[in-house]
Symmetry: C2
Subunit: 131 residues, 2 copies
Amino acid sequence: MQKVPGSHRDLLKAQFATLATVGASGRPQQSVVWFLAEGDDIGISLSNSRQKTANLQRNPTCSLLILDPTNSFRYLEVRGQAKITADEGYVFATKVGAKYGADLRQYDAPGDTRLIVTIVPERVRAVDMSG
Amino acid sequence: MQKVPGSHRDLLKAQFATLATVGASGRPQQSVVWFLAEGDDIGISLSNSRQKTANLQRNPTCSLLILDPTNSFRYLEVRGQAKITADEGYVFATKVGAKYGADLRQYDAPGDTRLIVTIVPERVRAVDMSG
């Protein structure tokens, strides 16, 4: 399994990432997501009602890009496969909410359920073009 | 053709975007790119030696996401098809360089050529979750 190198580990604590998934037509889609890294595991809390969730359930291949908010020449891209599990009781969503000072339930419609998307890395790109 | 709504047109002047392409294996890839908007046309100057260029030549479907650098809840995603033309004489690359105060030739290896990638929009998503 590929690891995030020391040069870019600070980005695992950043606030925002862009997630790329592949739609039913084979076209890529991107959105901005919150994430939580625990060690090298990067997790995202998604509602079952979202388009990106449907994409990942159909086709788990994805890419997560974390941009250094203070230096746009520096970023981390993790390409991999989404492993999706149920987040019953909002256990993981609560951990993510703690990082952001937010209650993720407020973003969900009645009847929504939460899923934990863990990215199993296949390729890690640590980019720094500012040198 | 879908247009960028007035609420998000300021983002066409932003500095950075993430470009998602699809690799030979069908997996999405992301990278941070410079871009130049002329009216509603969003163009990217790419060297022929880059992986993302090879991806777009094989499969022109792509997504460009422009994040508001001052408000990460607000962004523009343009999904579409890349139209690729030769940039002989670095005419477009020079325009892009003028936006960034940079000479794009300095990023190219000997023998590289420049291409103009124009995104023909199929879907424009103007997102603002900060409200």
